[in-house]
Symmetry: C2
Subunit: 243 residues, 2 copies
């Protein structure tokens, strides 16, 4: 059976890839991905064939990967972060129904939530939710219900895709929803360009976050009622009892 790897390459820096991910890319004849991610790994594997399709052409990219594998080549489809967190592994299984002779192997990686948490301190130590603010494929009412439900149950919340040109006010809208249950002084943090050139982090209150503009390369963290600022870092304790 032809092998097709779906590889999470981590937040960006080569050294944040797993050994297993590096081995999969080494074994591959062809590496396929969105242009930005292809550029991140190309320099480390100069001898490989790289193929890419633009954003929003994800189905085409998956079909391309299966077609290359059907030619007998070993193929890696790469994703930033983890292949299974807002990544391509789901669509690969869906498209794979039409390509039963190709076997998928998913190689997990460090996603922006855990990569960003390491930069901020330790915001995700206790129960947390990941919510994407992109309403391209999800109705806004669903996103709203999740922001409210997660806030009411005192989850730490990590937001992916917090902003874009069209969705310039979504973070503000999300903060207003979370503020129905979370306090104004809830400890929050933002991390930009995790593991890449220009990495930056900032710890602030939820009130300040509401009035902060972020770009699409930023991951946003909202603490639970126990999250504290310790020496400039965002830290959530392990529980609700004294340790």
């Amino acid at each position: 059976m032809n092998k097709l790897y779906v590889v999470g390459i981590g937040p960006g820096a080569y050294e944040k890839m797993t050994i297993e991910a590096v081995e999969a890319l080494k074994k591959s004849d062809v590496i396929i991905g969105y242009t930005v991610y292809v550029d991140l790994v190309r320099e480390h594997f100069p001898e490989k064939v790289f193929l890419s399709t633009p954003m929003k052409k994800e189905v085409d990219r998956c079909v391309l990967a299966f077609e290359e594998a059907e030619k007998g080549r070993t193929v890696s489809m790469i994703c930033s972060g983890d292949a299974g967190v807002y990544g391509m592994s789901g669509l690969m299984y869906e498209v794979g129904v039409n390509h039963p002779e190709v076997e998928l192997e998913i190689i997990p990686g460090v996603t922006a939530a855990t990569g960003g948490a390491a930069v901020l301190g330790a915001p995700l130590i206790h129960d947390f939710c990941l919510i994407s603010l992109s309403d391209l494929l999800t109705p806004w009412e669903k996103i709203e219900a999740r922001l409210l439900g997660a806030s009411q149950a005192d989850f730490v919340i990590c937001l992916y895709n917090p902003s874009s040109k069209k969705r310039y006010d979504y973070l503000e809208k999300a903060c207003d929803l979370m503020l129905r249950y979370k306090a104004l002084d809830t400890v929050c943090g933002i991390v930009g360009n995790i593991g890449r050139e220009g990495e930056e982090m900032k710890v602030m209150t939820l009130k300040e976050l509401r009035d902060t503009k972020v770009d699409m390369f930023t991951t946003v963290f909202i603490g639970n009622s126990q999250t504290r600022k310790i020496n400039g870092k965002m830290v959530t304790p392990r529980g609700y009892r004294n340790v």
Copy 2:
């Protein structure tokens, strides 16, 4: 400043560690961790000094790490999975307040949620929550509120610490709570011993999960309303609209 690394070693297999984690361990004079995790890495770094403390002695383990760093040694505190997801990085910042001359660096890793997801297929593609069923440090009422809130808002849910000898019926209790909002035929999955000897996975319905006994080395996944079984794998689509 003395450097103290807090390193997520991933789910267990050496090749699931990041390059950065391997480099941190190579640079270290002393590697500290819970006995089980120390045994997982010892064979790959036979020349290092290993120190460990038993379970439930986490604060002692943190103090030990800072004391070793204060002696001028380079130290790594290791955690399974990611250091920042139910890991030691939070407690290290808390204990670190008394050791201002030691600088912490958190090295993220692949947590059981994403490592297990890769084995099951692609369950975490869309918004999800991590909830620990351990009520050692968290009141059960809080866990209950989170299970209900996450189910009502149609999150994919990943359960850590689903069971123990004392908490043998907690998974059943959790399923009964989730069933207030999730359908009996919701697609679920369990993964045992992720990336270790004896790795196993099973896809089933929420009704079946309720009557399944799991051990403490199992990670449990409950789908959202869109999650499907595709060729034996658990797959959540990217959204609620046709792609």
